[in-house]
């Protein structure tokens, strides 16, 4: 009767704890406001280790003085690495998730104070910042309102409502955000801290807006060995495209700096705790850019670059550009090894490295329904490119076979052939003619398939059973495309879920990446930086293991 025992024991909690839990808090920060000042993260980490009796030898601090040349607003920070048993956590300096948005600017003057009960005292502490448009549903006009500028950026709200963003102080006074910012009683970091969204752009620049901050926290499944270590400081104004590929001790990832139009591929050495910028590319006027890392072969990183440039100076051909690039990780030199004639499928990773071959699908004809694809094979040793399979898509390796999809007589079918020669084609099964955007991966035993059903507008994920019939494990209403469909360490990973390949148990989770045979999970967190007295965002990366 363990249940009853703890049930009864909980009835005798001390009043002070009940009273505390019955209070209403306007934010997590508000909840913590009665506590002592946050402990310096250095001290906090040391205490964390000391308390938990984890060997401190495995933790290590490293000051780093900047992520990459040209990266903005880098403050001195720390990166702490920890390993404990099966768990491994890697912190990568953050980045707010930002998307450039095409907007029409309707700039207004910086708003004067409209809510001021009493003049706040000097050095009074901000208790909360309340967005009354959300808490009280106050209406506002739809136009971008400039509410502040500093030496580098202009800050905007997406509506005329700065007078409704109210800063509350410890002394009971309150005022609107524009007044507080201009008086120096609040900072932009306070908006981040209290999760008030805003846009910003480089001072005087026209067009491109950045922000708002995107919340992507989802939480990791508790059945995994993973734990947060409180470390790291953020790098503002950059976009980290999360974890991408791993080779040996190094993790490679992309840092986008939209202010400088600078896009860097960086490495993080897990053992040495060193960050290195491997290469930097500049794409002026880039409106949207995607790096899809395919893998590493012979010290070269292969990735697909998708560039969308809609600036007025670009010619039609330059507006969109897609290619596969090869980056020499030793020299940092890169070259285009394949240029797509048309936009490839940007949604699903359909490229695979098999021995010295890089196989990927390329759309040969857009004017057919469904679109006509070929599988192209690039020999990473000789540099030769051939069309390996005509009318075929979604290449994947399974045991000694290449698995792919082909459409014949309107129906989608799954085929296999010899991995290297491409001979001995065999049809494994027919799928519905309604199915498009197939993607395939193998868990070593079973062949997994994801398809979009155009009739019902649903995504189906399943595997081929012993009779090669598609056995659906999950069907869901289409909600975006499955950007990720890979197998690693017992799991099929999709953009919003992971499926246990054996038990077929589904865990709803975002931000899990399958890299090689390992699973990683990224979580964005807001941390307090004792030195700068600011809250900063960081990406905490977990190595997941059972």
């Amino acid at each position: 009767m363990r249940n009853e025992k703890i049930f009864n024991a909980m009835e005798h909690l001390e009043d002070k704890y009940i009273a505390e839990a019955m209070e209403e808090y306007s934010s997590a920060k508000d909840m913590e406001s009665e506590e002592k000042d946050p402990v310096d993260p250095y001290t906090e980490a040391v205490l964390f280790y000391a308390e938990d009796n984890v060997s401190f030898k495995k933790g290590r601090f490293l000051k780093w003085a900047g992520l990459a040349a040209g990266v903005c607003a880098v403050t001195a920070g720390v990166v702490i690495m920890g390993k404990s048993g099966l768990f491994e956590v890697v912190n990568i300096p953050f980045v707010t998730s930002s998307e450039t948005t095409e907007v029409t600017v309707a700039s207004s003057e910086i708003t004067e104070a409209s809510v001021k009960a009493t003049e706040p005292e000097d050095n009074t502490v901000i208790v909360s910042i309340i967005d009354r448009t959300k808490t009280e549903g106050i209406g506002y006009d739809d136009a971008f309102e400039k509410f502040f500028e500093d030496e580098k950026y202009e800050y905007y709200f997406s509506g005329i409502y700065s007078q409704h963003i109210i800063v509350h102080y410890e002394d009971g006074s309150q005022e609107d955000i524009a007044t507080a910012l201009n008086a120096g009683r609040a900072t932009i970091a306070d908006l981040d801290r209290f999760e008030v969204s805003y846009y910003y752009k480089i001072l005087g620049a026209e067009g491109v807006f950045l922000g708002p901050v995107s919340k992507t926290e989802t939480g990791f499944p508790e059945s995994f060995n993973a734990e947060i270590i409180n470390t790291g400081y953020g790098v503002k104004q950059n976009l980290l495209n999360g974890l991408t590929v791993v080779q040996g001790n190094k993790i490679y990832y992309v840092v986008n700096d939209w202010i400088e139009n600078e896009f860097s591929i960086c490495s993080y050495d897990i053992e040495k705790h060193e960050i290195e910028t491997v290469s930097t590319e500049y794409y002026d006027n880039a409106e949207k850019i995607n790096y899809d890392f395919i893998g590493i072969y012979s010290d070269s990183l292969y990735y697909r670059l998708s560039l969308y440039d809609h600036s007025s100076t670009s010619t039609a051909d330059e507006k969109e550009f897609y290619c596969i690039k090869k980056l020499n990780l030793s020299t940092g030199e890169s070259e285009n090894i394949y240029s797509y004639t048309r936009e490839p499928s940007v949604y699903i990773d359909k490229a695979v490295i098999i021995d010295n071959y890089l196989l990927f699908e390329d759309i040969a004809d857009y004017n057919t329904t469904p679109i006509y694809c070929n599988i192209v094979r690039y020999d990473m040793e000789s540099g030769n490119t051939i069309i390996f399979k005509e009318n075929a898509s979604a290449p994947a390796s399974h045991k000694d076979k290449l698995i792919f999809c082909r459409r014949q007589d309107g129906n989608l079918a799954i085929y296999s052939c010899d991995l290297k020669s491409g001979e001995n084609e065999e049809k494994l099964c027919d799928l519905s003619s309604n199915y498009v955007y197939p993607s395939i991966c193998s868990d070593g035993e079973k062949i997994w398939v994801s398809v979009l059903d155009t009739l019902n507008d649903t995504f189906t994920v399943g595997y081929l059973d012993e009779n090669n019939n598609l056995n659906p494990v999950k069907s869901s209403i289409k909600d975006g495309f499955p950007y990720e469909f890979k197998y690693a360490n017992g799991y099929i990973v999709l953009h919003d879920m992971m499926i246990d390949a054996k038990s077929e148990e589904i865990t709803a989770i975002e931000n899990v990446r399958a890299v090689g045979n390992e699973l990683y999970y990224g979580e964005y967190q807001t941390k307090y930086n004792q030195r700068t007295k600011e809250y900063q965002k960081e990406l905490i990366l977990y190595h997941l293991s059972k």
Partner: protein, 186 residues
């Protein structure tokens, strides 16, 4: 109205005390009842009974914190109704599930089971809570005392559900460690 003034109304046997209490804390009390009993008539009756019990118990009681005092009453009443309903097999609630989760923290030793009585366990939990960061403590009490859902806690405290789950997971792990140590040494 301040708590002290409402309690004074109770002492003066002024029925306005119930109105003021209901206005100030009714929603929060209703939430606890709903967490345990689900939305519906039972929860409403439970909150009404709480007002009555408070009326009958103040005086002689003179609580320092009226909210805490009435929250304990509503919780106890709700749990009693739940037990009665369970005996009559009138549907379930998430309470069992919540306590299943928490009971995982108890060490799995028969010896400990026998020796660690509810009073000691309660004392240990209070000591444990005292050593937690305030945020973790609030999340823990909201989940396992107020029976709030993870979604509600996240929304109330303006943090992510993942953050709440992580905090609860780590707190349960720590509690389990503490209870294991204490259980063995008792």
């Amino acid at each position: 109205m301040e708590d002290r003034n409402i309690i004074d109304l109770f002492f003066r046997r002024d029925r306005k005390a119930i109105t003021e209490m209901s206005e100030k804390y009714g929603k929060r009390l209703m939430r606890i009842a709903s967490n345990i009993l689900g939305d519906g008539r039972d929860a409403e009756e439970c909150v009404n009974d709480t007002y009555l019990n408070t009326w009958n118990s103040i005086p002689p009681n003179d609580p320092e914190n009226l909210l805490c005092y009435s929250a304990k009453i509503v919780r106890n009443l709700a749990i009693n109704i739940l037990k009665k309903n369970s005996a009559q097999k009138r549907g379930g609630s998430n309470v069992e599930e919540t306590y299943d989760e928490l009971s995982e923290c108890l060490p799995d030793f028969n010896m400990v089971e026998d020796r660690l009585d509810e009073k000691e366990l309660s004392k240990l939990i209070n000591v444990f809570l005292g050593g937690l960061p305030k945020k973790s403590r609030i999340i823990f009490v909201r989940k396992y005392w107020r029976m709030d859902s993870i979604k509600t806690i996240a929304a109330d405290l303006r943090i992510s559900e993942g953050n709440v789950k992580n905090t609860l997971f780590r707190t349960r792990q720590k509690l389990k460690e503490l209870l294991s140590e204490e259980g063995i040494s008792i």
